[in-house]
């Protein structure tokens, strides 16, 4: 100890000197006396410690500064003139590339409806009416006279816009009523209303899932969920699309990982959909709930398609499977799809809902929805509740459609038999007869990699997206020529995490009779057969 203190004595002297000179400036700071006393006494007791502390202090500051200016680590110093030159030289890319001819054609083919939309709308392009299997009018509430009447009444009392976010005088009594109605309808404690269905779940997820939390999500989740997950910055693990066995495996591997790292307990969520927007598959809710409770995860379930379309009165999957909705922690649904209004909701416990009133980004930072749309939603629920025949005839139409489509050879249908949206894939020319062989053709028992969203069979996907899009568009055009309006599922190619397979997406409605549905589906079938057989 002595030896060291003599060798570094000059250094210490200098240090003491600097300390005293800094003292004057230092004294001016409030609370400086305490620090000063501490440093002094520590210096006298043990000079070595002072140095150690100083080094530590400098090190701490350095790391702090470094983390702030990491971007500038390889900062190059330029003179003003050089910067001017660089600025002159720089030529940015155009803000947006023009559309390709294919995209332009697709855009031009988008149906535009003149007048009211409904089961048989009139199209701008042809000037004729067509049977509508494209628009979301599952429950046939579009054009419902009672709803219109209520909406007009509301307009005359509330005007149109709410002119403010919910926090600042944008919460109307009719919003609270619709929230109450949704919660009562589903049987949850509470619900919260967002003003756009699409933006709902992409705000719900980041409201709860923060950095470090764990999300285990289905590989087939819709775009909005993908965006919500991206915003949340949580750790994501993926399980195979609609495969609950794969889910269990992933949950187990996550738990193993946590035990190995002895990490703290973080929030953990399973995120999936009731009926998948991507392909119409349906999740086995009771089993999912069992798994969720067994592994102590919270469940965020997107019922945007299934709410209002399955179950006896349209309460969605929870009614279909007879599972209390309160077992789903965050049940997200749409007021736009089956209720034919606008907006979305998240139902759950009081705590879950109140949390979102402060943390749901698109709830807090956006104006609340127009009063009349909210009332239209309430009225829609009321009608569903009192008219179970709506759901019965919707399901009847779905069955009738499937009875025809399931026998068409040239397509495969990934959708659940009760799903109101029916996706049609072109049957792969190479993969053989049975519809379900597409996935089983490469029987691989190796589990997929949960850190990647890519399905394990992605390598064996052999469809040509461009060609299939084109063929399917031909089918759409052919059907329209025969008076049936259908549409391809529109995708944001290049922005989706996994590029979904091109498909035609039929949306059935209770507003058509079974006969009409059968006739329309017959037209679709003929169009499919005609176009697809030409390809061979």
């Amino acid at each position: 100890m002595n030896a060291t203190s003599t060798t570094i004595a000059p250094v210490l002297d200098f240090l003491a000197h600097t300390l005293t000179t800094a003292e004057t400036a230092f004294n001016k700071l409030p609370g400086s006396a305490v620090i000063q006393r501490y440093v002094k006494s520590s210096h006298q007791n043990d000079p070595g410690r002072t140095i150690l502390e100083l080094i530590l202090f400098i090190f701490a500051i350095r790391t702090l500064l470094q983390s702030r200016t990491r971007a500038e680590k390889n900062f190059i110093k330029f003179s003003d003139k050089e910067i001017d030159e660089l600025v002159d030289e720089w030529t940015p890319e155009p803000l947006g590339q023009s559309l390709t001819p294919q995209e332009q054609a697709d855009l031009a083919a988008v149906p535009i409806i003149t007048g009211p939309n409904g089961p048989k709308p009139k199209l701008v392009s042809t000037g004729k009416t067509a049977i509508n299997l494209a628009s979301f009018n599952f429950t046939g509430l579009s054009g419902h006279e009672e709803i219109k009447e209520r909406a007009v009444e509301t307009l005359r009392k509330y005007g149109l816009g709410s002119c403010g976010p919910p926090g600042f005088y944008g919460t109307l009594d009719v919003h609270m009523e619709l929230e109450r109605d949704i919660a009562d309808f589903l049987g949850t404690e509470a619900a919260i209303l967002y003003s756009q269905g699409f933006s709902t779940i992409s705000s719900v997820i980041p409201a709860f899932c923060k950095r470090g939390d764990i999300i285990v999500a289905d590989r087939g989740v819709n775009f909005s969920i993908q965006k919500g997950i991206q915003i949340s910055r949580s750790t994501v693990r993926w399980f195979d699309h609609n495969d609950l066995k794969s889910l269990e495996e992933v949950l187990e591997s996550v738990e193993k990982e946590r035990k190995k790292r002895r990490g703290p307990l973080t929030r953990r969520f399973i995120v999936t959909e009731g009926i998948f927007e991507k392909d119409g598959a349906m999740v086995d809710l009771p089993k999912l709930i069992d798994i969720k409770f067994k592994h102590k995860y919270r469940l965020i379930l997107d019922e945007s398609i299934s709410f209002g379309t399955v179950g006896r009165t349209g309460r969605g999957l929870t009614e279909l499977y007879n599972v209390p909705a309160s077992k789903v922690d965050m049940l997200v649904g749409s007021v736009a799809n089956a209720l034919n209004s606008c907006g979305g909701f998240c139902a759950g416990s009081q705590i879950v809902v109140n949390h979102q009133r402060i943390n749901g980004l698109s709830f807090v930072f956006s104006a609340s929805m127009p009063a009349l749309l909210s009332v239209a939603g309430s009225e829609g629920i009321n009608i569903l509740r009192n008219t179970p025949s709506i759901l019965a005839s919707l399901q009847e139409n779905i069955q009738a459609a499937r009875a025809i489509l399931d026998r068409v050879d040239c397509i495969t249908i990934p959708s659940h038999p009760a799903s109101p949206i029916i996706h049609l894939y072109v049957k792969n020319s190479k993969s053989s007869l049975h519809p379900s062989t597409a996935t089983t053709i490469v029987p691989s028992n190796k589990p997929s990699n949960p850190t990647s969203i890519l399905p394990k069979d992605a390598a064996s996907w052999d469809w040509d997206v461009q060609a299939e899009e084109k063929i399917l568009q031909d089918v759409v055009d052919e059907a329209l020529a025969q008076g049936v309006l259908i549409t391809k599922a529109k995708r944001l190619r290049g922005q989706e995490m996994v590029d979904p397979r091109p498909s035609i997406r039929l949306a059935l409605t209770s507003a058509l009779t079974k006969k009409e549905t059968e006739k329309a589906i017959g037209v679709v079938k003929n169009a499919l057969v005609k176009v697809l057989s030409k390809r061979r």
């Binding site: 409806i113 000037g127 579009s142 307009l155 816009g161 709410s162 002119c163 600042f168 005088y169 944001l492």
Partner: protein, 684 residues
């Protein structure tokens, strides 16, 4: 008029307690004036029936009912003017016929109270002068927060030991981590809860000049709120109803009713998959004209307009330069896009330029490759500060540094500029100098949703590659109609020329039909020159606006009323000695409170006045810690007397709460002086 009787009685009873300085009419004189006005209205109406009458003289078809309706629009509550909100300060004179409901859109015929919202040409945008409050205010503010935080921690510490059951939602339970961590929720639990009575106040009815509050009380320090069942009408200086189009009556509401009956509630689906209506096409063409761009795209939510279209504009390898105070929706969109983000100091052009020089010269981080493109995102009018973007300076920089410019006009569209076309209009700049103009309909237009406008190629790109087109529900017909009707009445509708081959009109494909080439109809469209009147073909055929609206007279009146009210309130508050932020032309007027404790007080004192006034108070994290503020949003619906009322209230409360720390006391005016010389104050 069964209402008239109890009305006059209660009115007389309460009159004694009136403290309003404006001359209050007696009920009898008022009603007689009304009946005269009625007779006039009927006459006018009959005249208005003939289609050849000039628009300026004839009256809107919406006023077939008695004009008493325009005052006494209460069918479920007993008419009572004790708050001075239901009756105009003066009964209408024989020349004045009001077509709006006074509680929704105030009656104000005095042409002195009008101004044009325009940047004086040849001048610089005045840089913001910061008045610093005295030190003791700052100190006490910091100390307040310190006390709040310490108290909060003490309460947590004690509470967790004495009353653990109320903390169970903050600690892991049954193997579930808490939804809300102790630390994350500290601010909400211990600071915001104290202010909760100022937030999320439920209301009913129209968010117009006045608003009806559903009264509530909290028995347990804001943990729960109980509705008392009573309602209070209050002067509404909080809603983003800049042009006063939040109305349940009048030409726009009539149009909306018509559209609901024609189109139903929804268009059933997304824009690209069977949810597009001809109304969308029409509205988008009108919006494009309104903002002066080639094409526009409408989305059903303002927030989503930013969050779903920005990712289609920029991506990896691109840089977004964003004002530090940009709205959450912009941040959301930018984060989704995957682009690199840098921020510059709020509205500070020097900071922007030095950042631009740095990023262009350095290129992308690590490998220093040049950026693919740089997008600068600013707002036209900042919703918490009331500051205007220095658009002329940004455009200058844009010429030199070749970045693309995205302006979010959520608050400025409709609210600024001699023609209501936003910041570019205010500064007299050609909007085509800006690449992307985004805005919302929730504010000035009394509707919902948003738009994004730019050149046709870009907008078409967004139609296909923006997230909304494929996945988000389309805007509903009712909302579209409100947008079209309000927008057309701001623009005025051009009188159709009888001869389509005359020099003023040309045969060309409208942008609307371009986006749907299948559309065989080639509209004959009058050449639109920005910022002019809307071509008649840009409205749906079934929609006829009442002449007051289609002539643009009412629209221009609204614009000028808003401009007057904004300047009057802003300058009036300054003259009273308050510290305000923002530009005098801005309809958003933030008044600085500093101390968090004063927010509650201010809010409550304003609400408990004889003429209740509802205000928005904002604090950290929406503002910097020390600059808690109250934010007024004036509207064209306010009368000059309404602004007087607000000024008087602020004057009294400002004295009580010690808020006047702006200009020197010797330069201040009394509130009486200000109200009397309002025109002078507004023009200061």
């Amino acid at each position: 008029m069964a209402l008239a009787k109890p009305a006059s009685i209660s009115f007389l009873k309460k009159r004694k307690s009136q403290t309003l300085s404006s001359p209050m009419p007696s009920a009898a004189s008022y009603l007689s004036a009304l009946s005269q006005a009625d007779a006039r209205a009927r006459n006018h109406n009959n005249a208005g029936r003939s289609p050849t009458s000039t628009p300026a003289l004839s009256l809107s078809s919406s006023i077939t009912s008695s004009s008493e309706d325009t005052v006494l629009n209460e069918d479920d509550t007993i008419f009572d003017n004790s708050d001075g909100l239901a009756l105009p300060a003066r009964p209408p004179t024989s020349e004045q016929v009001f077509t709006t409901v006074h509680t929704e859109f105030g009656h104000c015929a005095d042409q002195r109270y009008r101004l044009v919202s325009e940047h004086p040409s040849g001048t610089e945008l005045p840089s913001h002068v910061d008045y610093d409050p005295p030190y003791y205010i700052l100190l006490s503010t910091y100390v307040s927060y310190l006390i709040l935080i310490c108290l909060g921690h003490v309460r947590d510490f004690v509470g967790k030991r004495l009353n653990p059951s109320s903390y169970t939602h903050l600690i892991p339970k049954n193997g579930y981590a808490p939804l809300n961590s102790d630390f994350d929720s500290f601010y909400t639990r211990r600071l915001k809860t104290r202010l909760d009575e100022c937030f999320s106040q439920p209301v009913t009815g129209v968010a117009g000049r006045t608003i009806v509050l559903l009264d509530r009380i909290s028995p347990d320090y804001n943990h729960t709120q109980i509705f008392t069942g009573n309602r209070t009408r209050a002067l509404n200086i909080s809603s983003y109803n800049y042009l006063g189009f939040a109305q349940a009556r009048g030409g726009c509401a009539d149009a909306v009713e018509d559209s609901i009956r024609r189109y139903g509630i929804s268009t059933c689906g997304t824009r690209l998959t069977g949810g597009s209506s001809d109304l969308h096409t029409i509205s988008e063409a009108l919006v494009a004209n309104f903002v002066g761009m080639e094409d526009a795209l409408i989305s059903s939510m303002g927030f989503a307009t930013n969050s779903t279209f920005i990712p289609a504009l920029v991506g990896k390898g691109c840089l977004v330069i964003s004002d530090e105070l940009n709205h959450a929706s912009i941040r959301f969109g930018v984060r989704l896009s995957g682009a690199h983000v840098r921020m510059f100091k709020h509205n500070d052009m020097k900071s922007l330029e030095s950042l631009l020089r740095e990023v262009i010269s350095q290129g992308q981080p690590k490998h220093h490759r040049p950026w693919k493109k740089i997008l600068v995102i600013v707002e036209g009018l900042y919703s918490m500060e009331g500051t205007l973007v220095n658009l002329p300076a940004v455009i200058e920089l844009k010429k030199k540094y070749k970045f693309y410019l995205f302006v979010d006009e959520a608050h400025s569209i409709g609210a600024l500029g001699p023609h209501g076309r936003g910041v570019a209009d205010y500064f007299g700049i050609n909007p085509r100098n800006i690449d992307m103009l985004m805005g919302t309909f929730t504010k000035s237009f009394g509707a919902a949703g948003g738009y994004i406008a730019g050149n046709k190629d870009l907008i078409d790109r967004l139609r296909v590659h923006g997230h909304s087109g494929a996945y988000a529900e389309a805007m509903t017909p009712a909302v579209l109609t409100q947008v079209v009707a309000s927008m057309a009445s701001i623009m005025g509708v051009a009188v159709p020329s009888m001869n389509p081959s005359s020099s003023t009109s040309t045969l060309r494909l409208t942008s609307a039909t371009n986006s749907a080439p299948n559309n065989t109809a080639c509209a004959i469209e009058e050449e639109y020159s920005h910022p002019g009147a809307a071509p008649p073909s840009s409205l749906p055929q079934w929609l006829t606006l009442p002449p007051a609206l289609s002539s643009g007279i009412e629209g221009s009146n609204r614009l000028r009323r808003l401009a007057f009210n904004a300047r009057y309130l802003h300058n009036g508050l300054n003259k009273l000695g308050f510290i305000t932020y923002g530009h005098p032309a801005s309809p958003i007027v933030p008044l600085l409170l500093f101390n968090p404790g004063k927010m509650n007080m201010f809010h409550r004192m304003m609400k408990d006045r004889q003429t209740p006034i509802v205000v928005v108070v904002v604090a950290y994290p929406a503002t910097p810690l020390v600059t808690s503020r109250v934010r007024f949003c004036v509207s064209a619906a306010h009368t000059k007397e309404d602004v007087d009322t607000v000024l008087r209230a602020c004057d009294e409360i400002g004295d009580v709460l010690d808020l006047k720390h702006g200009i020197k006391p010797s330069e201040r005016w009394s509130v009486e002086q200000i109200c009397e010389r309002a025109v002078e104050v507004a023009e200061m």
